[in-house]
């Protein structure tokens, strides 16, 4: 049986790039087909009927026509435009960070529904909180960490946080070590077995286990002191950098916003 020429799907628009005279090439994340690329003809014209529905960080419903190389979007309808993310520079930068991570860790045409669901839920989570409230600020940071750890689990890089990755003995509540190359925790006795390790505090490890278990409800109620929050961020992002062998570019902009106190 040949695949139908026209198909319908929901999608989260990850990014767009200019293509040809007035077209745009989209990178989409779909529930049943994983990551896809598709062309929107004429999206850059101000009268485009399709263009406004397929901006990055939009959850939309699309009709696509199969092409020889690239599929073409023929109809588009916004499901959720995440207006509150768009209206806030910090939220936009954070949403783009989540999107860059999801993009970096997934291949094209490989279905991974949990990743789709995770990204959609995370964007809704970002959109819900109000920036003026300090409590929601903290929730945001937990949301980013939750997203990172869950994403790593869904794409096959779940870090081992229970037993020492070298001697297999259960991790004790003392200062242990995280090894990006080993993908998990080393007990103090085994810390020398991997070339690059970073110390990890008992509390940081506890929070990571909680987030990895998927208990976002509990995690989102935690109030971490800034040092612990920074430790978590550095540990997880160090692991991400090791896996991707590059920097996540959106962190550069986030760091800058933080530095400039915006």
């Amino acid at each position: 049986m040949t695949a139908p020429k026209i198909y319908t799907t929901e999608a989260i628009v990850l990014k767009h790039a200019n293509f040809g005279e007035a077209d745009r090439m989209l990178t989409l994340y779909t529930p049943n087909m994983g990551k896809l690329r598709a062309v929107v003809r004429g999206a850059r014209r101000s009268k485009s009927k399709l263009g406004g529905h397929v901006e990055p960080v939009t959850h939309c419903s699309l009709v696509l026509a199969r092409g020889r190389n690239l599929d073409t979007v023929t109809q588009s309808q916004t499901i959720e435009s995440f207006l509150s993310i768009r209206n806030d520079l910090w939220l936009t930068a954070r949403a783009l960070y989540l999107i860059e991570l999801a993009d970096a860790f997934t291949p094209e045409h490989a279905e991974n529904y949990p990743v789709y669901k995770l990204l959609l839920d995370a964007l809704h989570g970002l959109a819900k909180v109000r920036r003026e409230e300090a409590a929601s600020w903290m929730q945001h940071l937990m949301l980013l960490r939750y997203f990172e750890l869950q994403l790593l689990g869904h794409v096959g890089y779940q870090p081992q946080l229970r037993d020492c990755i070298n001697c297999r003995s259960p991790i004790q509540p003392v200062e242990n070590f995280f090894s990006p190359s080993g993908g998990g925790i080393l007990c103090p006795k085994c810390a020398h077995t991997e070339p690059v390790v970073r110390p990890i505090s008992v509390n940081a490890l506890k929070v990571m286990r909680l987030l990895q278990r998927g208990d976002y409800a509990t995690a989102s109620r935690l109030r971490l002191v800034p040092e612990l929050s920074r430790e978590l961020e550095r540990t997880i992002q160090g692991y991400v950098r090791y896996l991707l062998e590059r920097e996540i570019k959106a962190t550069g902009f986030l760091d800058r916003l933080r530095r400039e106190g915006m």
Binding site: H16, G52, S81, L83, G252, R256
Partner: protein, 203 residues
């Protein structure tokens, strides 16, 4: 060397190769253009060559607005007719042409030469933002109009600039978002419609 054209005379194959480096020009188009030029009258070919050299040698960035120009300051920045208290910030030089065609703006411009795109790794340092802030320091500017594209990146750039400019105490505005002339409500996306409603005005 593009395979298949090695047998042509050296100047010919060299020109084919140069054309091939241009965007959207494949080996066949490159060869066709080259042979077209060979049949062209000499003065036409020479004028093309001179035009190419001229844009490379004479076009510089205006030291004020960063637009492409052959005089510094550019015609707009140097004009005495224009309102020097307004600066309209755009992404690309082509955006100035579009705005000038409206005939409805008589202030100055500033070209960023791009837009903040965290995923592409393009940050504020890659744009002409420092140059813009330098122009605001002498206090002669009263209003900055942010005319970046109404895309996610354009809006993020606008919000970032707004925060940088706000300490100067100027009026910072952005172009209205709304429905295009000849458009259709039915096909408008929610963001555009929501902003069109926000920006409605009394008739």
């Amino acid at each position: 060397m593009i395979s298949g054209f090695g047998s042509a005379a050296e100047p010919v194959s060299r020109l084919i190769e140069e054309f091939h480096k241009l965007p959207g020009i494949g080996p066949k188009s490159a060869a066709r253009l080259t042979y077209h030029l060979l049949r062209m009258p000499e003065n036409q070919a020479r004028s093309l060559a001179e035009a190419i050299v001229a844009v490379k040698e004479r076009i510089v960035l205006c030291s004020l607005c960063q637009n492409l120009t052959d005089t510094d300051p550019c015609a707009i920045c140097g004009s005495t007719e224009r309102d020097r208290t307004m600066i309209c910030v755009v992404e690309e030089p082509l955006d100035i042409l579009a705005l000038e065609r409206t005939g409805g703006y008589n202030g100055l411009y500033h070209v960023l030469h791009g837009v903040i795109s965290p995923i592409e790794g393009i940050g504020p340092d890659e744009l002409k933002i420092g140059e813009l802030l330098a122009r605001l320091r002498d206090g002669s500017v009263a209003e900055v109009i942010l005319a970046t594209n109404p895309s996610l990146e354009g809006e993020a750039t606008g919000m970032y600039l707004q925060r940088l400019i706000s300490p100067f105490g100027l009026r910072v505005t952005c172009l209205a978002r709304g429905l295009p002339v000849g458009g259709d409500l039915e096909y408008a996306d929610e963001v555009t419609l929501a902003r069109a409603l926000e920006g409605r005005r009394a008739l």
